[in-house]
Assembly symmetry: C2
Homo-oligomer: 391 residues x 2
Amino acid sequence: MPVRVPVPATGRGPAVSDHPTSDGRLRVTYRLTLEEGEQARMRALGIALEQTVGMPAAYLPRGLEEKVVGRVEEVEEIGERRVRAVVSYAPEVVGEDLAQLLDLLFGNISLQAGIRVVAVDWPPAILGRFPGPALGIAGLRERAEVRERRPLLCAPLRPLGSGAGALAELARGFAAAHVDLVKDDHSLANQPSAPFRQRVEACLEAVAGANRRTGGRTLYLPNLTGGPQDLARRVAWLREVGCPGVLVSPALLGWANVSWLARSSGLAILGHPSWTGSLFARDHGLAPELVLGDLFRFLGCDGVVYPNVGGRSRFDLRTCEAINRALRRPRGRIRPAFPVPGGGIDRSRVPLWIERYGPDTVFLLGSSLYAAPDPFEAAREVGVAMRGAGR
Amino acid sequence: MPVRVPVPATGRGPAVSDHPTSDGRLRVTYRLTLEEGEQARMRALGIALEQTVGMPAAYLPRGLEEKVVGRVEEVEEIGERRVRAVVSYAPEVVGEDLAQLLDLLFGNISLQAGIRVVAVDWPPAILGRFPGPALGIAGLRERAEVRERRPLLCAPLRPLGSGAGALAELARGFAAAHVDLVKDDHSLANQPSAPFRQRVEACLEAVAGANRRTGGRTLYLPNLTGGPQDLARRVAWLREVGCPGVLVSPALLGWANVSWLARSSGLAILGHPSWTGSLFARDHGLAPELVLGDLFRFLGCDGVVYPNVGGRSRFDLRTCEAINRALRRPRGRIRPAFPVPGGGIDRSRVPLWIERYGPDTVFLLGSSLYAAPDPFEAAREVGVAMRGAGR
């Protein structure tokens, strides 16, 4: 492929900064696996072209190359046929559109082998287009009336197939046990066994009743799905009935729909990782902390569920901690969001996880509660441990 | 994990049928890679539970197991630590919601290693919830006034960074050369270089002018992006200005948004595979023909762009032909859709590809046209070859 993109003469550059670059460009760091005989710099140039103009530089109209084509900033061999490359992009190639940002990050190159996006430096010009969490950690604490700096407990309503009444009884029990957040399992959509409105009404009422009795402030978060019309109708109705928030799966609901919710609904948003897992292969995709950390947070999730180390997922402790950091670190006006580790957390080990992950964490306990002789009593005990952690 | 799901005594069963099963269940065939010491049947049972109730069967309320948990129908060892397993699901666990269908197919298990969905038997109860293409192959032929049974030619407007006027000049040239479909590059969203409405107006006018002069009927398909409000406004406006169709990236725009377009917009829909590639790993994800064939078609794409064998993508000829088959095969009231192979198709080899893929194909030629001394003349020549193929 004929290429004419100017590149610095040296293959090595300074370590990638964790801070926005001063030139305002979006810097993307890739880890590449080369094919036999492939040249590292040519591969990086190929990505810089593919993700912007989609054609060889030789055929570009005059003047466009400098303005639009990604700029290869660094190319470094890090092993046999392994390369770390940094390409920077002008914010103007993204425009106002979140989908176009995802397209730039991993659109067409998702169809190529051996490319992993391992780091992104977000310039203010791009961060400014994201709403970020409407509540964030502080706002969700306020809504749940958790004033001490302690972790929060979240319990799911399961299983799919249960009627609205049975799910509401679970919600009532968890609320009475002072669980902070009670959320639908992400499989609960609008099935005939528990249609959306019927389920939400029953659960809201059950939780409100328990809150009145205990003086607590458990929040119920139903799973929100639907195409544009259903979505708008459901959100309007949720506000009408006083629902405090929702669970959403951004990769299924639509990325831009989540931002719309964050900007306009007033609902607390808990993000679920359903359907994102294929992005997290070892040599392909994006680093989990970029998707479940940065992107989910930027889109507007106040908390992000991820599969904790030790369950069936491929995440190790390092990955989980990287997600935690990405969700909490200062990002200008974009509020920090709660990490919500779930899956494979045994209730007996919660104190250890609190020590490891810290107080700005929501712990999602599912099977470990349901496996207890009395799930509500088990939840109450975990809650006591959490309140202890806040003192 | 304690499991009590009833399974047939034998590990082998009949070959998976290519037709909906008579019991109306959604049958999903997985290819699994087992971990050291893992039992095939336990792994399949784990999936059947994870994708439905999300908890071990031992803790399920009475009566739910039979109704809701996936049923392991077949488990067959096909190599060392390699297993083919078939699990069937009751349509009721999906309900009316397309996102929940995706969640059932590959939601939480996307976060586990070693699972690939290789086949799905779609029961009528689930197919009936998809709109399918509003036009399909026959309807798109009609809209483009291509009455003979010949392949169609599609050319992209590139590159990103060009102004609306420059893109419109390209559209005019391709339309004058009788290119059937002129589409935006999928990177064109609403960037300042060519804002959406300005670009669409200019290109529609340029194409209409060329059509008047030639008596032809080239269709211009802009790339459609945006959150729920932008989307609704843009679609209303596109109808107002007489735009015949759009390009969309379902994984970025939101799956349900595509169905909404198909049901209500009257626009022809060309689907783009941006962001889907990570689903197509060798031992993880879903078979490309399930996503770019079945799902994109069911959602409502009248044509589906995919990376043809020979470009930078990982698709081989077998995969491309499987996508073609999935898009065209009879599916009750769901209309067939055009395969749109693109990427790596050299204009000189188009006659060979026509022979291979047949007349119900849209050929997307990008770089091969732009690399020609005169792209419009090159397009005209390819068009002549296509018209020859229809005789």
